[in-house]
């Protein structure tokens, strides 16, 4: 923890001491108006206030005053906070194999629904772009902070058709991302690359640039066929795990649309966090106020004495 205005700390302590002195002075003046009683020890016994409650009240009060002094000095602490200017590109596989129905209703529909969930869960301010790829990659939605626009763009994804150029998609996504800041790529595919540049090389390069690729394997190896082709629809988990590993991301497999949405929703939630120094003055002041209020209320209920 550091302080924005460290010189305020002794000033605040002096001010607190001055206020304390004044309150004591005022209390002495109030003594004249105190209720004269035969034996205050009897009153204390009658109220049966536990000593630990009084000690707790005093401790709470001291801690609250200390927090107030710290709040005045402008404390700064490092915390994981939602990133407001991060960027994420979602690469959605639209190759012919995504028409398979081993995930209900189809792999393609499941991927689209999951991408939609990811966008909805992303913190405001995160810029999102969408790349569709099959035999080649194309930008469906450039980076935008208008999440509603990105969701609308998902409707423009082409129907499943053609080969799978994962390397091209990753390269295009990398070009869309800004040079700095918090950046991620989310790859939604069944993982069988059969055209374009080598995806492993691109993933390696992205890792060097600190751009993690989160790969989501869509589909199963249940022996389902690609509709209209007679070819078996496959899922290359090994390749997807390798792309994620070399780039610093993670791999997850979604065997149905619901699970896929869950994974991507979680990813959307964690994408936007970054360690930052934040101003904790308000939090400290609120804690101090709560402490004082709590000690007052506890004192009100149980009765305090000195």
């Amino acid at each position: 923890m550091s302080f924005e205005y460290p010189w305020r700390l002794p000033v605040a302590l002096l001010a607190i001491l001055a206020v304390g002195w004044y309150l004591r002075y005022a209390a002495r003046r109030r003594d004249a108006a105190a209720l004269l009683y035969s034996n205050v020890a009897f009153v204390r016994e009658a109220f049966s206030t536990s000593a630990w409650i009084v000690r707790m009240l005093v401790a709470a009060w001291i801690v609250s005053v200390a927090l107030l002094a710290l709040a005045v000095a402008g404390p700064r602490i490092t915390l994981p906070v939602p990133v407001q200017q991060g960027s994420a590109v979602i690469c959605v596989d639209t190759s012919g194999s995504m028409a398979s129905t081993d995930i209900a209703p189809t792999r393609s529909a499941a991927a689209t629904a999951a991408a939609r969930a990811f966008i909805r869960r992303s913190p405001p301010g995160i810029r999102i772009g969408i790349v569709a790829f099959s035999s080649q990659a194309e930008v469906v939605q450039p980076l935008t902070s208008h999440h509603r626009r990105a969701i609308q763009a998902l409707a423009q994804l082409p129907p499943p058709n053609g080969a799978t150029a994962i390397g091209d998609a990753l390269a295009l996504a990398a070009r869309m991302l800004p040079a700095r800041g918090h950046r991620v790529i989310v790859l939604l595919t069944d993982g069988v690359n059969n055209t374009g540049v080598n995806p492993m090389a691109v993933a390696q390069r992205l890792g060097e640039l600190h751009v993690p690729v989160y790969t989501i394997g869509i589909g199963t190896n249940s022996g389902a066929f690609i509709p209209g082709t007679g070819e078996p629809a496959q899922l290359d988990q090994g390749a997807l795990r390798a792309y994620a590993q070399v780039s610093g991301g993670t791999y997850a497999r979604a065997s149905d649309a619901g699970e896929l949405r869950g994974i991507l929703s979680h990813l959307g939630g964690v994408t936007g966090f970054e360690q930052r120094r934040v101003d904790a003055s308000l939090a400290f002041a609120l804690l101090a106020g709560l402490g004082m209020l709590a000690s007052f209320l506890v004192g009100s209920f149980f009765g305090g004495y000195r």
Binding site: A27, R30, D31, A33, A34, L35, L36, Y37, S38, N39, V40, A41, F42, V43, R44, E45, A46, F47, S48, T49, G299, S300, F301, F302, G303, G304, Y305, R306
Partner: protein, 289 residues
């Protein structure tokens, strides 16, 4: 300070009370050196008189049985101890001490010509124990302990035990906080019992001014009348209830303790001092406000 009707009834109650020592024959029941039976008068013998009291010389002269009446049969020794500690200087409209002084006045109003009257102080009896009658009562009532004089209940009781002849009537007016100093007076109960055996003991326990309930709510600062110590407390419904219960419990326990020691004990109500005294002797009714 003329004797009032209720004063006379109070005196009569003391004279005929069961606590009054019965004097038989000769000898001295007094612990005071030289203070034996003192001749008062001769009267005609009545059935029940102790034969040892018959004055045979007077009988021979008059031709009828004559009984010697000693002063102890017709005169009282009335003493009082008033708690003058700072804890008695609190109260609602009047202080407990002012109320105690009203009681003291009523007590000494019962004194008649041959009675002794005195107030027990830290330095002994005021006035001297040999003084009798209304003059003694007036002097006893006029004494006021100086504010700087520390009141020590147990010390006063020890002095009374050393001074007073057996059968004396001793009135104690206190708020009772000194009775709880068990650590300083480990044999307190034995001493109270001893006093109860030797004297006609009466204690009026000054009732807490806020017996019915504390007058304040919320954050209240108390100041100890004795030590000046402060106590900040919050008074809510729970505290008010606890306080009323504790005050009633304390008064009841104190009275029970004194009664066990054969004392006559009763509460002293603010603004009704003399009435509290007469009620304790059964010569009046006390209307509790």
């Amino acid at each position: 300070m003329p004797a009032t009707d209720r004063g006379r009834r109070l005196r009569n109650a003391l004279l005929t009370g069961k606590r009054r020592p019965r004097l038989f024959g000769s000898g001295s029941p007094s612990g005071l050196r030289g203070d034996g039976y003192e001749f008062a008068e001769l009267r005609a013998y009545v059935a029940g008189d102790d034969p040892r009291r018959i004055d045979w010389a007077a009988t021979a002269r008059s031709g009828a049985l004559q009984t010697r009446v000693v002063l102890e049969d017709v005169a009282l020794t009335m003493a009082a101890i008033v708690d003058t500690s700072a804890s008695m200087r609190v109260g609602r409209s009047t202080s407990l001490l002012d109320c105690a002084l009203d009681v003291l006045r009523a007590w000494f109003e019962a004194v008649e010509s041959e009675d002794r009257a005195m107030q027990i102080t830290a330095r002994g009896a005021v006035p001297d124990i040999r003084l009798r009658g209304r003059a003694a009562a007036t002097a006893a009532f006029a004494f006021h302990a100086s504010a700087s004089e520390q009141f020590d209940l147990w010390n006063h009781l020890r002095i009374a035990r050393a001074i007073l002849p057996a059968g004396s009537a001793l009135l104690l007016i206190t708020d009772g906080y000194d009775f709880t100093e068990e650590e300083t007076v480990p044999d307190g109960d034995a001493m109270l019992a001893d006093l109860g055996r030797r004297y006609d003991m009466t204690c009026l326990v000054a009732r807490d001014p806020w017996y019915e309930g504390l007058p304040l709510r919320g954050f209240v600062r108390f100041k100890d009348a004795q030590s000046g110590r402060l106590l900040d407390a919050y008074i809510g419904a729970r505290q008010r209830r606890a306080y009323v219960e504790a005050v009633a419990r304390r008064e009841a326990r104190l009275i029970e303790r004194l009664e066990q020691a054969r004392w006559r004990a009763a509460p002293l109500l603010e603004g009704a001092g003399p009435a509290s005294l007469y009620a304790a002797f059964g010569v009046g009714h006390l209307v509790q406000s």
